[in-house]
């Protein structure tokens, strides 16, 4: 067992202990924060050991897990295999950090405290699992498992309409995972795992990859001698596909004008798009955010949404490279539409939390635009935007939380001129808002800039997508500055005279300023993040266009 197992098992064990150990409120909190703290230390060690110049997965772990003999359909193998590469390293660090911040700011949770911390730990474990799994089945297990704690966290500790919101979240995500499941089973049945096949049937006498792939294409391997696996690497090579299968590039299968592989791509794309969320599959997000308690909103926006883009970069695009590149225009169009649609909706919001939620939709649109460019700039920008948005949306939701915990209200019109009463809060909110509207010197700028730049210079897209995306930057400045002006500037006013608005506590200062400073560091030295994902991006793009 290596470090990657620890970052999953630690919170998992702690979740059981907190959930069933009858520790009491204080100790549950301490254990939860302590365990995530230890997890952060392990993550720090992983980050130090990680070699950014190396291609492929590192810190690899692999254990046999499931082996099924399906008779004439061959064998099914799923492994407990973990690894981390340039794409996931940043995301696991982000997950650790945001989980810590969320737990740190969970002081306002007052009932069923043990259950709450137990579920957050469970969520953390499944998120970590998602990002480090090298086996699609294992990924799927973690992916589905995430649903459960999230559903309860919104449904039990949420606001007045929590039932509706949690059910909506549940259904949406389940539909998404259904699409993913279909493709997962289909593609795994279609593909042969050369390594496993050679291991399981040494009598076939194969020793190298290409001879096996040639034999497969020539029908020389009997179906019952094929070992299917969920290994992401195997599934990323179309040459491993059995001939005549719907997922085979040569199959000639058409359904509704789309080939089997195109269906596979779009189903995976939509499955992950729901998580991102991409307009028009986004309507669960504002409801879920508005009803979720602050720390859960932080986790939702900070980490959960990233799985959508992660899924595209890790599965949808590598599995179906040609189809993905063909779809560049549509993807970019959807991305731009999300940017503008999210921004306009945010402009119309009167509830601060909803505004932040729609701003998430808008900002995640840049991720898709960057990915659709299929350029190193665009991809680096997209990955950077994932991490940057993880930090900034957490900061924005914590900002909403500060107001909500003091007044129980989040209507923008109910506040004015808080700068006079809460100078520290105003400074950190100013950082959050200017960073989110893409001011240079903060991380938000780098992600948006390079996504747009990728889209502008891409040979797969016309510049109009980037130019329309630029409109999103303008609208973003509009709604964010409007909010800042309404709430913080002007003469002091709050709707109810009984509302007390003390400035930030020490605990709040720590987490809010910590995230703000992190955003500034990444904004000035983007190389810290670019360096991690550089090899992943260049290598993935080389594979796409080789």
């Amino acid at each position: 067992m290596g470090n990657l197992s620890y970052i999953i098992l630690l919170p998992l064990l702690a979740s059981l202990i907190v959930g069933f150990g009858k520790l009491g409120a204080t100790y549950s909190r301490l254990v939860a924060i302590g365990v995530i703290g230890i997890q952060l230390l392990v993550l720090a060690k992983i980050a130090l050991v990680f070699d950014p110049s190396q291609v492929g997965y590192q810190l690899v772990e692999s254990q046999d897990w499931i082996h099924l003999n399906l008779g004439s359909l061959g064998h099914f193998v799923s492994k407990y295999s973990l690894g981390v590469d340039g794409l996931s390293i940043g995301l696991i660090l982000l997950t650790g950090l945001i989980s810590f911040v969320a737990l740190w700011n969970s002081k306002d949770i007052h009932d069923k405290i043990e259950g709450y911390y137990s579920l957050v730990l469970l969520l953390n474990a499944s998120l970590m699992g998602c990002f480090v799994a090298r086996d699609m089945f294992l990924f799927y297990v973690f992916f589905e498992f995430m649903l459960l704690p999230m559903y309860f966290l919104i449904g039990i500790w949420g606001g007045p309409r929590r039932n509706y919101a949690s059910l909506k979240f549940f259904i949406y995500t389940l539909v998404g995972s259904l699409f993913i499941l279909i493709v997962m089973l289909g593609i795994s049945l279609a593909y042969m795992d050369p390594n496993e096949t050679a291991l399981a049937f040494p009598n076939l006498g194969f020793h190298d990859l290409s001879s096996m792939q040639t034999a497969l294409a020539a029908h020389e391997i009997a179906p019952n001698q094929i070992v299917h696996s969920f290994d992401l690497h195997v599934l990323s090579d179309p040459k491993n596909c059995q001939p005549n299968n719907v997922f085979s590039p040569q199959s000639g299968f058409l359904l509704g004008g789309l080939s089997g592989r195109a269906w596979g791509f779009w189903l995976l794309f939509i499955g992950f798009a729901i998580k991102l969320p991409l307009v028009p599959l986004h309507t669960w997000l504002p409801d879920a955010h508005v009803e979720a308690p602050t720390p859960i909103s932080v986790l939702l926006a900070g980490v959960l949404l990233k799985i959508g883009a992660y899924g595209w970069l890790r599965m949808a695009i590598p599995f179906f490279p040609t189809e993905a590149v063909d779809a560049a225009g549509i993807m970019a169009g959807l991305g731009v539409f999300s940017i503008i649609y999210g921004a306009y909706n945010a402009l119309a919001m009167t509830d601060l939390k909803k505004l932040v939620a729609y701003s998430s939709v808008s900002h995640m649109g840049f991720v898709l635009l960057g990915i659709a460019s299929f350029t190193p700039e665009g991809w680096q920008g997209a990955i950077f935007q994932l991490l940057s948005h993880g930090i900034l949306s957490s900061l924005l939701f914590l900002m909403v939380g500060v107001l909500y915990s003091r007044t129980g209200n989040r209507q923008i019109d109910n506040f004015s001129g808080l700068a006079t009463k809460m100078p520290w809060f105003t400074v950190v909110s100013g950082i959050a808002i200017f960073a989110s509207l893409g001011l240079p010197g903060f991380s938000g700028f780098i992600g948006e800039f390079f996504s747009l730049m990728g889209a502008f210079t891409s040979t797969h897209l016309t510049p109009i997508y980037a130019i329309l995306g630029g409109l999103g930057i303008l609208l973003g400045a509009g709604y964010l500055l409007w909010t800042f002006q309404k709430i913080y500037l002007g003469g002091y006013f709050v709707r109810e005279s009984t509302w007390e608005l003390p400035d930030l506590t020490i605990l709040e200062k720590f987490s809010l300023f910590g995230l703000g400073i992190l955003s500034i560091i990444f904004g000035i030295f983007p190389g810290i993040i670019f360096e991690l994902s550089e090899i992943f991006v260049t290598n993935s793009l080389n594979l796409l266009f080789h």
């Binding site: 259904i171 389940l174 499941l181 306009y344 303008l474 400045a477 500055l481 002007g490």
Partner: protein, 619 residues
């Protein structure tokens, strides 16, 4: 100290100063800030003597290409750096007196240092990313300074407007710069050679429209006068607004003539519109703001050539001087018993102030002479140089007629400039006080007198050339590589004619004072805001009523289908299917105890879909 260390110190010092000033105790904040600004000016002079060179620091790697933080010390950058540091220092000294009564003034000085830092980056950088970054940062500093009095409604609205109108231009700049980098295959200005396509060049130039408050994005600048007057002198008169000219100067060698002409035409429109609307302002600062728009238009008329750079510098000095002088007039009226309650910026309350403020009167006249381009001021040389540039370009260009039209606009603009400037001097200092206020003599305030006197000193001719009529052998011009363009003698006649006409019109209309501040294209802002807001509402309705409804209805349909199939299951199907159904119903009951009554139906339906799809895929 080696020059490289000084250079690095120059880049970093303002940022540290900003933090330090904010952190220091209130008592010593202001003095510390002035000392730091003085030190910065010293460094700027050191760097001003550096030979032209490129300094690079490693930054990050992207897609296999190393991106360096690269800085290019050019003559134009050095000149601007000197202008910024000098004006910033004077403004800080002046502010100590002007804002003496504000309690928490550290924030203001901290913002000024942030601005200096961003502006330094902007003029020195060679990298398009840093250039764009610094470009946005100066805009943000402008936002912070306009909204300095954040408890009042007008400044915060003005600040927001300034930021948003600037951003419109910024987007054009973003794509222009990326287009340049893509076309030349280099992300540094020093690596761009040749001639870029017209569209890219125009996009870059259009990027400057917002920042330089040119046509049609000009309406933010008069509003921005809600900020503290000394800050306006630095940011909204002398330096930041000139960034739009500076981008033209940086890209001048490698954008085509079409883009140059685009810049000139925008400049000509702004020159005339700004000058006309400067006539129709009641507020002394807003009149100066329109005058700035007009003068920036003049620089744009120079199309980013060294003539633009020259006027940028000359204007920076005398416009900062005008603003500081106007500031001291406002300060004086605000502290008089008779006018304390009145609007200290309104021309209605002025007139005859030469008696109380003789020094300000002299200063205003000299700076005004600079604006008119009267000999013995540096403005004379810089204005003639722009005319010379246009004449020169017309001689060997396929677009000669355009240049002659622009020259005509320049002549008309000079006449209008003479008119509004003389009118302003008349309305403030000459005649009698129009409201009959009884005013006392002003107190001597060295903190105000020294910066203004030094600016007067700097705006005179002998810095440029010892011959007040001819800059032919100017050391200054050759040091900063500014070309001395020539125009035939007849132009001197036109210039003189414009002054005479200007004086004449002023004399004839001297009794008329504008009742309010008329806005040029003022409607663009509120109406575009309304449109965006209305679109937002529409999008939101669409989102709530259609997108969300479709999803909810679709889910409800699933429930109905689930009911039907449950019925079919109960009555029609038996065996394995009914077993599955009963399992899922049992599961559903358990789930129902969690939160919802509908969840189990959903599970049921999901399960069935899954089974069907699996069957389809397998066979």
């Amino acid at each position: 100290m080696p020059i490289q260390t000084i250079f690095l110190a120059l880049l970093i010092l303002p940022w540290l100063s900003a933090g330090l000033v904010a952190w220091l105790p209130t008592k010593i904040q202001v003095n510390a800030s002035i000392v730091l600004a003085g030190f910065f000016t010293y460094l700027a002079f050191k760097v001003g003597h550096m030979p032209e060179n490129i300094t690079s620091y490693p930054w990050f790697t992207l897609g296999g290409n190393a991106v360096v933080a690269s800085f290019w010390v050019t003559k134009s950058a050095q000149l601007l750096l000197l202008l910024v540091s000098i004006v910033a220092l004077f403004v800080q000294i002046f502010s100590k007196s002007y804002l003496a009564e504000d309690p928490k003034i550290g924030r203001y000085y901290s913002y000024l240092h942030l601005f200096i830092g961003s502006m330094t980056l902007l003029v020195l950088t060679d990298q398009i990313y840093i250039f764009y970054g610094a470009w946005e940062l100066v805009g943000a500093c402008s936002y912070l300074l306009i909204s300095f009095w954040y408890q009042k409604e007008a400044p915060i609205k003005a600040a927001k407007k300034a930021f948003l109108l600037n951003r419109i231009g910024d987007i054009a700049l973003l794509f222009g710069l990326v287009g340049l980098a893509n076309y030349f295959g280099s992300s540094v200005f020093s690596g761009m050679h040749g001639s870029a396509p017209a569209l890219i060049g125009i996009a870059v130039i259009a990027g400057g429209i917002g920042k330089s408050a040119q046509f049609p994005l000009m309406s933010w600048l008069p509003d921005a006068m809600e900020g503290p007057t000394p800050a306006s002198a630095l940011i909204h008169a002398a330096t930041m607004v000139a960034a739009g000219v500076f981008v033209g100067i940086r890209v001048f060698p490698f954008i085509g003539e079409e883009a140059h002409l685009f810049m000139g035409i925008i400049g000509a429109i702004s020159l005339l519109a700004g000058a006309i609307f400067a006539l129709f302002q009641n507020d002394i600062k807003k009149a100066l703001a329109y005058s700035t728009i007009s003068q920036l238009g003049l620089m744009w008329l120079g199309m980013g050539s060294s003539a633009s750079l020259f006027h940028l510098y000359a204007h920076g000095i005398f416009k900062a001087g005008l603003f500081l002088t106007a500031g001291s007039v406002i300060h004086y009226l605000h502290h008089q018993k008779a006018t304390h309650q009145a609007d200290a910026q309104s021309l209605t309350n002025m007139g005859g102030l030469r008696k109380q403020l003789p020094l300000s009167f002299v200063a205003y006249v000299i700076f005004g002479a600079g604006m008119l381009g009267i000999p013995f001021t540096s403005g004379f040389f810089s204005k003639e140089n722009i005319a010379g540039f246009l004449w020169d370009s017309a001689q060997h260009s396929a677009y000669a007629n355009y240049y002659y039209v622009l020259l005509g606009a320049l002549a008309l603009g000079m006449m209008l400039t003479a008119t509004y400037m003389c009118r302003q001097i008349y309305l403030i200092f000459l005649g009698q006080n129009r409201e009959g206020h009884k005013l006392e003599k002003s107190k001597t305030d060295w903190l105000q007198i020294i910066p203004i006197s030094l600016l007067i000193f700097l705006s005179l001719f002998f810095w440029i050339s010892l011959n007040p009529m001819d800059a032919h052998e100017s050391v200054f011009l050759s040091f900063f590589h500014i070309e001395n363009y020539h125009i035939p003698e007849f132009w001197l006649g036109i210039t003189a004619g414009s002054w005479i006409l200007g004086f004449g019109i002023t004399y004839l209309t001297r009794r008329w004072v504008p009742k309010r501040n008329y806005q040029f294209l003022g409607f663009i802002w509120p109406s575009s805001y309304r449109i965006a807001w209305g679109l937002g509402q529409k999008f939101h309705q669409f989102d709530a009523r259609i997108v969300d409804r479709i999803v909810v209805k679709f889910t409800e349909l699933q429930v109905i289908i689930a009911h039907l199939s449950a019925w079919a299951d109960k009555h029609l199907v038996d065996g394995s299917v009914s077993l599955v159904a009963s399992i899922s119903r049992g599961l559903g009951k358990r789930l129902a105890t969690w939160q919802s009554a509908q969840l189990h139906r959903y599970w049921f339906w999901v399960f069935f879909t899954l089974v069907f799809i699996l069957i389809y895929l397998l066979y």
